[in-house]
């Protein structure tokens, strides 16, 4: 790094922020606060800002490390182990799906690809109908969306899409499939293409550079390298939080504990980890719903070899999308899917592409000319798509048991067909669905015939996910929901779930903006109840 890009974290630490690195403590730590927040991603970060702005004393707990722009060297081999759950190789129990999820101060917002969509009205209508979430209307949420969109500079990307995205638009256009421009949470973006490895210029308005610094400036405490083990209960309510200090190197427990006593406890460790925390805490679970209905937007991929360079490693990773195939059938009909593209960097591309030896190497040799489309399945809207269940392993770490049902596989096969057709329409020389039995096909008709015959099974068809949702579903108690629509746990009156695990279905869109807005609303209600002041719409 030759130029000096201001690093808000380094500067804040210099100003004397109260930050505790639990990998370096040599004694137990006891803290007290008005509210303790477990997790610092989209939900935790937003909550920290709102509660601290209301004058409340906040403690944030994060199991991952504190890294910032000075550390973000745009190197995959550094970023995946340090910023992602399981080195970006977290998998479902049967190993059928690889999950990208953040694990650092800022959570997934530090490493996501910046796509920011409001919750679709169809999804909200389904929640009102099925889960009794009467207030969840587009009109009710609109001011909260406006608020966080302003706070995080969310706006449609006004620069030309990179070629990887442009191919999606061009091919779709040829087939009469509408596409649109993706809104992104960036300010002064350099269009580098490395959002997934931590933004080196702090253009991405992640929690790491927005809400968390704001909370720390107001005196909030951040403890990182600390894993929330369990809540202690007293009667129905939560009476404390017990955390383990972690080794920075290998994430194993150190012999020190951090305990926090607070008036309110906010679980915001993200789907999978939040239900696991509640399971470890033996929270009352009368309906046996805790951890169930965890959704992934399971993704299938299609790789095209284009005649011209695509350079999918360069430029804003996601700027064009199509929701056409979400709306060609009813929401509870055959599964719909959203089309986007991923960034194409060598390590992630190599582990995701299929084949080995000279054949596999030849495919990767064409990396710069490779274009990839992804299709995200909108899971969770019919009986045939109930999502997965979060369980605890013997060592109390969580795993997600998610079976891809025939209903979901059907959508995946249709999506592979759709993506190949779009890629050929855009001028692809060959198209290869990412499936072990597939090869590069030279024409749409050849691809169409071959895809129809592919065995849709795990560890044959490549399936990935970057959106984990649900497991602590909100809704009315009588519907078996874990939390109410305002995020409060149905039995523990001082426990709140403010993260992606609150969604009763998947969203059908990249989740960050839905988390920001709904949490902004619910955290403001919590701030009002803790301060005794009326509900406002508070964010700077």
């Amino acid at each position: 790094m030759t130029t000096a890009i201001p690093d808000p974290i380094v500067e804040g630490l210099r100003r004397g922020w109260h930050v505790i690195d639990a990998s370096a403590i040599d004694h137990d730590v006891n803290l007290e606060a008005d509210a303790v927040i477990v997790g610092t991603g989209a939900g935790g970060g937003m909550t920290a800002e709102i509660l601290s702005e209301a004058g409340l004393r906040v403690v944030m707990i994060e199991e991952g490390p504190l890294r910032s722009s000075s550390d973000f060297h745009m190197l995959e081999r550094e970023a995946y182990p340090s910023l992602y759950q399981g080195s970006a190789a977290r998998q479902t129990k049967d190993r059928g799906i690889t999950i990208l999820q953040g694990r650092n101060v800022g959570g997934s917002t530090t490493v996501n690809w910046t796509s920011s969509f409001r919750t679709p009205p169809e999804t909200l209508a389904y929640w009102r109908d099925r889960y009794g979430l009467a207030t969840y209307t587009p009109e009710f949420l609109a001011p909260w969306f406006e608020l966080v969109e302003r706070r995080l500079s969310i706006h449609p990307w006004d620069v030309s899409p990179n070629e990887n995205n442009a191919v999606l638009r061009r091919g779709a256009q040829k087939l009469g499939i509408p596409t649109a421009v993706i809104p992104r949470n960036v300010k002064g973006c350099w269009n580098l293409g490395y959002c997934g490895l931590g933004c080196p210029t702090n253009a991405k308005q992640s929690m790491l550079v927005t809400t968390i610094p704001a909370a720390l400036d107001r005196g909030a405490v951040l403890v990182h390298h600390a894993r929330a083990e369990h809540f202690t209960l007293s009667g129905d309510d939560v009476s404390g939080l017990v955390c383990s200090a972690l080794e920075a190197s290998d994430q194993r427990n150190r012999p020190y504990q951090i305990t926090v006593k607070a008036r309110a406890y906010v679980a915001a460790g993200g789907a999978i980890n939040t239900p696991a925390l509640l399971l470890r805490s033996h929270m009352p679970n009368a309906h046996r719903r805790l951890g169930l209905r965890t959704f992934l937007h399971p993704v299938v991929l299609s790789a095209a070899l284009m005649p011209e360079p695509v350079d999918g490693f360069s430029g804003a990773p996601q700027s064009i999308y199509s929701d056409h195939f979400l709306y060609t059938q009813p929401i509870d009909g055959p599964i719909g899917y959203k089309l986007e593209v991923p960034p194409i960097h060598p390590l992630l591309a190599a582990v995701t592409m299929t084949g080995f030896g000279t054949t596999g190497s030849a495919r990767l040799a064409g990396l710069a000319n490779t274009q990839v489309i992804i299709a995200l399945m909108r899971d969770g809207f019919t009986f045939a798509s109930q999502g997965g269940a979060v369980e605890l392993r013997h060592d109390h770490t969580p795993q997600l048991d998610y079976e891809i049902t025939p209903y979901v596989w059907d959508g995946m096969r249709r999506a592979l067909l759709t993506m190949a057709e779009i890629q050929f329409a855009a001028g692809a020389k060959t198209v290869m669905p990412l499936h072990e039995s597939a090869v590069p096909y030279r024409s749409w008709s050849e691809a169409k015939a071959a895809i129809a015959e592919l065995p849709m099974e795990i560890m044959r068809c490549r399936v990935v996910s970057a959106h984990v949702m649900g497991g602590c579903a909100m809704g009315n108690d009588e519907h078996g929901a874990v939390i109410a629509g305002n995020g409060r746990h149905h039995s523990a009156g001082n426990l709140y779930v403010f993260d992606g695990s609150m969604f009763p279905t998947s969203l059908g869109v990249n989740p960050q903006l839905s988390i920001y807005a709904i949490v902004a609303r619910n955290a403001n209600e919590l701030a009002a109840s803790l301060t005794g002041r009326p509900l406002g719409r508070r964010i700077v």
Partner: protein, 177 residues
Amino acid sequence: MARLTRRELIHTGLGGLALLALGGCARPGSASGRFDDPGYTYRALTSGDRELVAAIGAVMLAGALPTDAAAHGVAMVQVVRGVDIAIDGLPPNVQSEIGQLFGMLRFPVTRAFAAGIWSSWENAGASAVSDFLARWRFSNVELFRSGYQALHQLLMASWYGNAASWARVGYPGPPAV
């Protein structure tokens, strides 16, 4: 191979698990020293693991590694080291699963019956290793498919995370900031 029924699959899977457990009991083989890398202390891979990672890596990454013998040797040391670093960065439960997989591949009886490799890894021919990978890749036994996927991910992550691999795939590396 005929398609296995779900029930057969479960049984084969359990048999596979027994193989894994057996392999997991095997002690690391004696060190041959080929991957005793003076500049680096291995944290996850035993010397026996390094031999099998090198043998499988040379086949998995064929066509991507330098062809010049000396450069190939240097690259292989980097590949093996990269796999060690990659495993070291994984959560403890995943590390132990990989340890079981490597144990099974190291222990001669399970290596022969599960992988079809009848010689030591050091002496295994490229075509035998290639056949083993293809068999596991397309196996009807999920355990073997997952073993192939784990090897594929580790080796691909190791080599393509290494700047030495980038020129060949047309990746210029990160831009200057």
